[in-house]
């Protein structure tokens, strides 16, 4: 934590010194989704001052950009939002795939359907959504069935994320459907599955790390990045559910309205460097599409199969796609789930 604070202090001072000389770069990213040391290193090497604003959902970012927010250069949309933003002509073609270092990117991460060759965006980072649990209370857990049984078995509490797609995805996975299904019958089955466990769910919340640390809940659905809070607590574990889980991937994209396109391109090239991608992983605890970077990450990350995911685990992960107009059916299902007694 201390190094983080000094890192920030340095970046602020660099910012002040360098702003005039090499110009600036405005990032618009998810909260806590980039290691501040990466930004400090970037400013130190290039003299470009970096500012960082944050958002908490793809839709929040899209709504602001659509409403005409200007001044941002780079955004970090999830893959399905990357597709939407290309369809809406909000992104700039960068040609980053022509850079010689682009060969370091694992081609399985070129997931954006509208950008199959990465002419626009650079795959940034990916991670999984699984279950954090306090093994002292719950005993061993392997997946969703064990997870939902915790309250009845132990009297302890469990929580799910306050996220429409992630919660309904559990129902889809458990009823054998795709997490992107637009089929009304499949969605109904998924909704019914979640509803049948509604009584076991204490809350829909993102406050999993503090509530789990204090013992107020025994297990919760959360992002792999939550591991950063539990390196010193061997009883709190993270698993990717045996029945299946979801994964996310965000890409580095330059906005069509970006005022500093040159600097944005410089940042993308900087992030192609394995040492920089690894520096980010060391603080974020998620995956990187940069192949050589995986060799440079700290040992405890490399050795944890729930963070550094092997191929057979990868096979049971699904990623969200844009579901277009079917989003309205999801919205209704989500309202039903949240208001059910």
């Amino acid at each position: 934590m201390n190094t983080k604070v000094t890192g920030l202090a340095i970046s602020v001072s660099l910012l002040a010194g360098a702003a005039g000389a090499e110009g600036s770069l405005a990032l618009y990213n998810w909260g806590d989704y980039i290691n501040p040391d990466v930004l400090t290193a970037f400013t130190k090497e290039t003299g470009i001052a970096v500012t960082l604003d944050t958002y908490s959902s793809n839709e929040e970012m899209l709504a602001k950009i659509q409403a005409g927010a200007t001044g941002y250069d780079i955004v970090f949309p999830s893959v399905h939002m990357n597709d939407i933003m290309i369809k809406l002509n909000l992104l700039e073609k960068t040609g980053i795939n022509a850079h010689p270092d682009f060969a370091r990117i694992d081609p399985t991460f070129l997931r954006a359907k509208e950008d199959p060759a990465s002419e626009y965006c650079l795959p940034y980072a990916w991670g999984t959504v699984g279950i954090f649990y306090n093994e002292d209370v719950t005993g061993p857990i392997t997946g969703w069935a064990d997870f939902f049984a915790v309250p009845e078995k132990t009297g302890a509490k469990i929580t799910l994320l306050d996220d429409m797609r992630e919660v309904i995805a559990i129902g889809s996975i458990m009823t054998g459907a795709s997490v992107n299904s637009a089929d009304p019958a499949e969605l109904q089955a998924a909704t019914d599955y979640v509803l049948s466990h509604k009584a076991a769910i204490s809350a829909f919340t993102y406050e999993v790390p503090p509530l789990l640390s204090s013992g107020d809940i025994a297990a919760g659905q959360f992002f792999v990045g939550g591991n950063v809070f539990f390196t010193e607590t061997p009883n709190i574990k993270y698993i990717i559910p045996a029945e299946g889980g979801t994964m996310y991937q965000e890409n580095i994209c330059v906005l069509a309205s970006a005022p500093n396109k040159e600097n944005a391109r410089t940042f993308m090239e900087f992030y192609l460097r394995p040492d920089i991608a690894a520096l980010n992983v060391a603080q974020q605890f998620n995956g990187t599409p940069n192949l050589p970077a995986n060799e440079l990450t700290p040992d405890f990350i490399k050795a944890n199969p729930n963070i550094n995911v092997p191929a057979e685990t990868m096979a049971r992960l699904q990623i969200f796609e844009d579901i277009g107009a079917a989003l309205r059916v999801y919205d209704r299902a989500w309202n039903t789930i949240r208001t059910a007694q």
Binding site: S57, D162, T205, S214, D331, N335, T339
Partner: protein
């Protein structure tokens, strides 16, 4: 001549305010009203085609294909109204006696108390609500104290219940109820209270026939100021209600920030506004009636 100059000056003084309200209040309101009758865009925003299903899915007509009528929206609205009404009642019961106590304090202490009441505004609402989360959770301050005192054996289930939501809203709204109440209590004609008691009315009669009517403008003012933001509140149910006890404000937020359905969010906002306006009109009518009698 002088009159005309006066009205010119008055116009000049009012122009900036009128312009400000026009641009920052009336115009956004019009946009919401118009959007609520438009077709939702696939990726947020609107398509410029008339669309009445935004209201239909709330009030009972829908095409059954893209839009489905579901009574849960009216239930959520009703629930929001009940929570807001409860907040008004609890804050009123808490603040009314305190307002009398404070107005009887020596000047210096009165100022200290009024300062204390406004003190919460100095820190962020989100931070204060997270503090409540820490107080109410099973291993939190409240349960720990009660358990150490031996009053309860098991932690009480408060966090992530409707009780926590109402408690949180009461906490947030207390200053808004107290200040108008205090103003009217402070203006209460004490001679009339004494006269009523001297002339043989008992304490309850005096309260009902003298004190309540005189402080009614403060009660109504506080009630309106507390009720309006309570109906649309979405932060308290999110943080303390565990996003389960949906209020209509949560629904609006969700339409803009995750479901990309701006017109439906606008329609819900218009309905909140209609409810609030109705309450306001009733309150104003009551206040006029009371004012007429006095």
């Amino acid at each position: 001549m002088a009159l005309r100059r006066q009205s010119v000056i008055l116009g000049a003084l009012l122009a900036p305010v009128t312009l400000f309200l026009g641009v920052f209040f009336v115009l956004p309101l019009l946009i919401i009203a118009v959007f609520s009758f438009l077709t939702p865009g696939l990726y947020g925003g609107v398509e410029w085609a008339f669309y009445h299903w935004n209201y239909g899915r709330i009030f009972g007509w829908a095409d059954g294909i893209m839009e489905v009528y579901e009574p849960i929206y009216l239930r959520i609205l009703l629930r929001s109204l009940i929570f807001a009404a409860l907040t008004v009642i609890v804050t009123l019961i808490l603040c009314y006696p305190v307002a009398f106590w404070v107005s009887g304090l020596p000047d210096r202490w009165r100022l200290v108390f009024l300062f204390l009441i406004t003190l919460p505004f100095f820190s962020s609402l989100i931070v204060r609500l997270y503090a409540w989360l820490l107080i109410l959770k099973p291993t939190g301050l409240f349960n720990t104290v009660l358990m150490n005192l031996g009053l309860i054996g098991q932690p009480l289930e408060i966090l992530y219940t409707p009780t926590a939501v109402v408690l949180g809203m009461v906490y947030v709204m207390i200053p808004f109820m107290f200040l108008p109440l205090y103003a009217s209590v402070d203006n209460l004609d004490r001679a009339q209270v004494e006269a009523s008691l001297d002339l043989g009315a008992n304490r309850i009669q005096t309260l009902v026939k003298v004190i309540l009517p005189q402080t009614l403008p403060g009660i109504l003012g506080g009630a309106v100021i507390v009720f309006i933001p309570s109906v649309g509140n979405f932060i308290v149910p999110d943080v303390l209600g565990g996003a389960k006890g949906l209020m209509v404000g949560n629904l609006v937020e969700q339409q803009f920030l995750s479901s990309r359905n701006w017109p439906f969010g606008s329609a819900l906002s218009m309905i909140i506004m209609a409810v609030v306006l109705t309450v306001l009109l009733i309150a104003v009518a009551r206040a006029r009636k009371v004012g007429g009698h006095a």
